[in-house]
Amino acid sequence: MSSASSTASHFMPFAATKIAAGVDSLYYFLLVASFISCVLVIGGLIWFAVQYRRKYEGQKTAYISHNTALEFLWSFIPFVIFMVVFVWGWIVYYQLRSMPENGLEVAVTAQKWNWTFTYKNGRKSQGTLTVPIGQDVKLIMTSSDVLHSFYVPAFRNKQDVVPGRYTALWFRAEHEGSYNLFCAEYCGDQHSGMLGKVNVVSREKFDEYLGTEPYKGLTPVEIGQKVYGGACIACHGLTVNDVKPLKLGPTFYMLFGRKESLADGSTVDVDEDYLRESIVNPNAKVVKGYDAGVMPTYAGQLDEDEIMGLIEFIKTVK
């Protein structure tokens, strides 16, 4: 689906749902109406200003204090247009927010700065939401830290994700493809790095995706590499140059086995135990030059296989 992520030169991005096409129709109506209004007002303005420019000092001007009929007309006509687009917008909004009864439900957890998707059968995915084409999908979302917002431009849909409560969003994708997922509510340092994808695939591919063990047949290092790509990559790099300000957290390059200086002046040997603690309780030992409170805990986000895999992967980064 090339149009899903092509250059930003069109009026609107690719529309992957029927409702998105409906939003576009309303938007194009608004654009045309706005354009006509602007041409009338700005055109009139320029026309009058030029037509009645001062030709000599002391030029007499007309004395026109008001015109009730005209004033009523130009109050009433905008009012009618505003009411039309209000009702039309209401209808579109109603469609956007009317939750399907028998949709595929996926739990969404947002945290600084990634997305976790959990399916009913326990399948988890970080950063990428895979859904079948032509089926209602309902997302039940919450945040484990601050506000985030789930936004897929191709669906013309957006919903803030609020800690301490659930918000919901639904869509039915009609076109296969890989669509951008943005966080649209400001959430801190890596807000613009909190990117994801929504992959819309065929029914068969989706069943296959849902049924397979995500890590089946993979070695721990390969598991760790996958986890890294979803959860860690925004803040931790793999080369010697991936340090502040490029990345928010220390690089994984040559990390395992060395002595790390900590913010409190002490040092620690980087072994399996230290790495595990840094994943589940990241503020316990903060590396010198970095700030406490930046990294959230991944306890509960990653299971033991994933943590173990991640540690094995970090060992290989040299």
Binding site: F48, E71, F82, W88, L96, G193
Partner: protein, 527 residues
């Protein structure tokens, strides 16, 4: 007290101390002018840094954390220290009492105190520049603002103190309009600039305390862990947004209504014509002020507030559109059969109308709730509010400065240079912000330090436009300094205007008029 000829408010006393302790509304207006210009330069510098960083994807200059501080400083400084005090406290302070035929505002000491509130608040807020920064955005959304670092506290305290400046100015203006009008100056003979300031003052007095309370609650939560907004402490983060926008939406009208007043004056004077629909413009200011209290929820269409609330707020927002449209039509109609002189202030007023119309129609697009779900928190919103705030308010400030400059300083500015500043700012503005509508429609969220490559070319255009605006404002600054030092001497009424401030010497004497004026006609009697 009649002054001797040649003695005016500028030269009757001298020395820094006479300025810092002055009770003259004109001198306080000049103090505001200087401070707002300094704040604008600082806020503008951050805008330039932001556009430099966004010139290309990836990190150009700073990391995400630093960018977020720049973005916050730019927004907070421009909103709280430039646009809100810009017209009422600076131009309004100077001009409004003279327009009414008064000797001063109702409470001169309170007037001076409001300037000190602004300066103290600004100083406290600027501490956050150096102390860990503040990275919440000017909106301080919870729970992020509860959990982020210490600089936030300073900015919040600063905004709290600045709020009192705004409240006191509003209070002063309401009392002045009610009690200090010259004999014969009935409400229906007040210039439209006064009407707009009066409407603004009501908003300042009624809405700003809500912001103050909200900020106190935020501080209680940050410093004393009282659970109000943070779910981790049992609070509700969406509640903060309700409180915040209950102030900050009326605040949008605190920013734009006075600009509309300035434009009314400029259009009438430079077309030498009675304003069309005087009562409609005057009452629409009051109408906008009243309705603006009931539209805050349109900032929260996707926040998690109920769907019913979303639809209701969409409807009420449409209602604000009507009086706003009426004003634009009236200004346009005023030019009809006028005698239009294209001096720089009129160009700024026409620029205002051009940009504000685009800002207005895109405001309607955003008020359509089904469409806003897509546009919310994207660059479409950024473009929209810059068209209103910069294209509207800043255009009016620039036009107002050049229009009233002869009255304030007794000298004329170089009109050709002033027109050049307009051309640069106007052209640069459109190059900067029009592409942002397209970026937003294509889904680029706001407050992004980095972006996907698809958005690169439009961001480049936007950055180039921003630097053009920067140059335009530097030219504007040059025009002001040149006018102060080298400007031609101005008579009392260089534009042949009918409002009262032009019927007294330039610059005016300490108590504004040599003899008490008596008003016998409306403000725009060009026959």
């Amino acid at each position: 007290m009649a002054s001797a000829p040649g003695v005016n408010y500028l030269n009757e006393k001298s020395g820094l101390w006479s300025w810092l302790t002055t009770l003259d509304h004109k001198r306080i207006g000049i103090l505001y002018m200087i401070s707002v210009m300094i704040f604008f330069a600082i806020g503008g510098a951050f805008a330039m840094l932001i556009r430099y960083e966004l010139f290309a994807p990836g990190s150009q200059l700073v990391d995400g954390a630093t960018y977020n501080r720049y973005m916050t400083f730019h927004g907070a400084i421009m909103v709280f220290m430039v646009i809100i005090p810009g017209i009422p406290a600076f131009l309004g302070n100077f001009i409004m009492p003279i327009m009414l035929g008064a000797k001063d505002v109702a409470f001169p000491r309170v007037n001076l105190m409001s300037w000190y509130c602004l300066m103290i608040g600004a100083t406290v807020a600027f501490i956050s520049l150096f102390y860990n920064g503040v990275d919440t955005g000017w909106t301080f959304y919870t729970p992020y603002s509860i959990t982020t670092k210490n600089g936030t506290t300073w900015m919040v305290v600063g905004a709290f103190i600045i709020g009192f400046s705004s409240i006191l100015t509003g209070l002063n203006f309401i009392a002045t309009v009610h009690k200090l009008r010259a004999p014969g100056m009935s409400f229906w003979r007040m210039p439209l600039f006064v009407w707009s300031l009066y409407s603004t003052a009501i908003l300042q007095v009624l809405a700003t305390p809500v912001l103050a309370i909200t900020l106190v609650l935020l501080l209680m939560e940050r410093l004393m862990l009282v659970g109000i907004f943070d779910p981790a402490l049992g609070g509700d983060p969406v509640l903060f947004q309700h409180f915040f926008w209950f102030y900050s939406h009326p605040a949008v009208y605190i920013m734009i209504l006075p600009a509309m007043g300035v434009v009314s004056e400029l259009i009438a004077t430079y077309s030498q014509k009675t304003i069309f629909g005087y009562k409609a413009i005057a009452l629409s200011s009051v109408g906008i002020a009243a309705v603006s209290f009931f539209v805050w929820g349109h900032h929260m269409f996707v926040s998690g507030q109920s769907e019913v609330a979303g639809v209701v707020f969409s409807f009420i927002t449409m209602l604000v559109g009507v009086p706003t449209a009426i004003k634009v039509f009236n200004w346009t109609a005023t030019l009809y059969k006028g005698s239009v002189k294209f001096d720089a202030p009129l160009l700024y007023a026409l620029g205002f109308l051009f940009l504000f119309t685009i800002g207005g129609v895109t405001g309607i697009i955003l008020a359509v709730v089904g469409v806003d779900v897509h546009f919310h928190d994207t660059y479409f919103v950024v473009a929209h509010f810059h068209y209103v705030m910069v294209g509207g308010t800043l255009m009016a400030i620039m036009g107002g400065i050049f229009y009233w400059f002869p009255k304030m300083f007794g000298r004329l500015v170089h009109d050709g240079m002033a027109r050049l500043s307009f051309v640069l700012i106007f052209a640069g503005f459109n190059v900067t912000f029009f592409p942002q509508f397209i970026l937003g429609a294509n889904g680029m969220p706001r407050r992004y330090f980095d972006y996907i490559p698809a958005y690169e070319s439009l961001n480049k255009i936007s950055s180039i436009g921003a630097w053009t605006i920067g140059i335009g404002f530097l030219v504007g600054l040059f025009v002001i300094i040149h006018g102060l030092l080298r400007g031609e001497k101005a008579g009392p009424n260089p534009w042949n205007s009918r409002t009262l401030e032009w019927q007294t010497p330039s610059p005016p004497p300490h108590e504004n008029f040599i003899t008490q004026p008596v008003v016998t006609a409306g403000p725009y009697e060009y026959r």
